[in-house]
């Protein structure tokens, strides 16, 4: 019987409660989950391992931690989808869409999600990016 290898999802965020909740949900979707607690830890991890998909928080020890990490991941593994998750949205006029060609040029993330979306929405997004 063929054993299906679970896809590996890396989640990087400085909020340990968020990491716990995400790990619980995403593991239930049937993935292998690794969590990292800071931009620095995330950078160290991707030096040694290649995940199948990454979910990264925008603001960690730096205001642009998410963008920096996204850039580094894409540089090393161009085919690995990256989702930028954030609690900061259009309420204060900050909207990072990747809908225009201009935005896509420098942001390089595959998707942008607002934290607090329903687990089934997240599941659909992950499957879409992994082409499952």
């Amino acid at each position: 019987m063929e054993k299906t290898i679970k896809k590996k999802i890396l989640i990087i965020d400085d909020d340990i409660d968020y990491l716990f909740q995400m790990k619980t949900h995403v593991e239930k979707f049937g993935f292998d989950v690794t969590t990292m607690n800071s931009q620095k830890e995330g950078e160290e991890y991707i030096k040694k391992a290649k995940p199948d998909l990454v979910i990264v928080d925008l603001m960690m020890e730096n205001m642009d931690s998410g963008f920096v990490l996204c850039y580094k991941i894409k540089k090393k593994y161009p085919d690995v989808p990256v989702i930028i998750a954030t609690a900061v949205t259009s309420e204060i006029g900050l909207e990072f869409g990747i809908n225009t060609a201009e935005d896509r040029q420098w942001i390089k993330a595959d998707s942008y999600l607002e934290k607090g979306i329903r687990p089934d929405q997240l599941h659909r997004e992950i499957n879409k990016l992994l082409k499952i």
């Binding site: 400085d14 409660d17 968020y18 716990f20 619980t24 603001m59 900061v88 204060i92 934290k115 607090g116």
Partner: protein, 374 residues
């Protein structure tokens, strides 16, 4: 530093040359600046020519004579005003024409200089207008920077408040969906984490209120002679439950009378924050030492701990808003990140200084020096 551009608009070539010569090697400086301002002169013989040159060269200062062959100076002034550019106009007026001077300045000219003027008078006027220009541009820059700082503060604040709200909601939803089964006991961790995060939110809001009051200057300051030894003792007593919980001992021995004329609330905030940090960022069975000293000139407060310490590069960011040092040792420590920023603002208000030294795994020392005469 790039030269400032002066456009001279006068129909008499002799006057234009004279002005050019007077300002060619002229320089204006502020005592705090390394480089002085120098000038490049552009000339125009008519109002029409001037308007073309303004669009081409964007002069910083315009010397404008009213008597011109085509459109007169005041009309040029009107058109310059409509362009809404960053330039300062000095009107050249004829002697005994106060009327013109008034008209010019009420129409946007910054200043006027009556003919005939000596080179010294010209240079004096240019010096004055240059300094005004510099100050105007600096103020604009600082206001812009101020807005940027406030915007960043709000973004980070929004993030800091939304994160605990999201996680508490997340935990509640997991409980609602019985994600860990039917036994309530299995949800203890989630429930405790939620309560922790809510406590964090409450602390953040309280710190924000302190910060806002201090920054707006609206906090009513009540100065009186305070016994600092007593204030420290009260602060330490109020933290005893927390210190016991973290298994940390706080030691303070009042050595001599230390009275200080200050606001009691502000002193409490400073001591509370420093002592609570020293307890928070400490080790099991760790210690905190508080020293208070009064010299002829200053009050010296030292709070030392045997805690986890921090790297030199982290010390630099310590007093910024919302900065909390995040590493594997501080993972389970909560805080708003505003405590030290508030302490710094208060110490600044008393003309004091804070010095921090720290060594990872050994501990940190916070030394505050406040002068006795404000």
């Amino acid at each position: 530093m790039e030269n400032l551009k002066i456009l001279v608009v006068d129909d008499e070539p002799g006057i234009r040359t004279g002005i050019s010569r007077s300002l060619k090697n002229f320089s204006v400086g502020f005592p705090f600046m390394d480089d002085d301002f120098q000038y490049d002169i552009i000339e125009a013989g008519s109002g029409e020519e001037a308007l073309i040159l303004i669009d081409q060269h964007h002069p910083d200062i315009i010397l404008l004579d009213n008597k011109l062959p085509g459109i007169e100076g005041l009309d040029v002034l009107e058109q310059i005003k409509n362009k809404e550019i960053d330039t300062m106009v000095m009107m050249i007026t004829s002697y005994a024409s106060l009327d013109l001077a008034v008209k010019a300045t009420s129409n946007g000219a910054y200043n006027f200089i009556p003919k005939p003027f000596t080179p010294q008078e010209l240079r004096g006027a240019i010096e004055y207008i240059t300094k005004q220009l510099f100050l105007k541009r600096m103020t604009k820059k600082m206001n812009k920077a101020g807005k940027e700082v406030r915007f960043m503060f709000l973004s980070v604040l929004s993030h800091e408040l939304k994160s605990p709200i999201n996680t508490v909601e997340g935990y509640l939803k997991m409980m609602k969906d019985r994600e860990l089964g039917e036994n309530l006991v299995d949800y203890d961790t989630m429930i405790n984490r939620s309560l922790e995060r809510i406590k964090g939110m409450r602390n953040l809001i309280m710190d924000l209120l302190d910060l806002t009051k201090i920054e707006s200057g609206k906090k009513l300051r009540e100065f009186k002679q305070l016994d600092l030894n007593e204030i420290i003792s009260i602060a330490i007593d109020s933290m005893e439950p927390y210190a016991i919980q973290r298994n940390v001992k706080v030691k303070f021995k009042p050595s001599h009378d230390v009275t200080f004329y200050a606001d009691a609330d502000e002193m409490e905030i400073i001591f509370n924050n420093l002592i609570s940090n020293a307890i928070k960022y400490n080790k099991e069975n760790g210690e905190v030492y508080v020293y208070l000293e009064k010299t002829k000139t200053d009050i010296i407060i030292r709070v030392e701990d045997t805690g986890i310490g921090m790297a030199q590069e982290d010390v630099g960011k310590l007093f910024h808003d919302f900065v909390r040092i995040k590493n594997i040792k501080t993972q389970n420590i909560t805080g708003s990140g505003l405590g030290l920023s508030i302490v710094k603002k208060l110490v600044d208000a008393y003309d004091g200084k804070i010095v921090v030294t720290s060594e990872p795994d050994k501990g940190s020392k916070f030394i505050i020096t406040i002068p006795l005469d404000i």
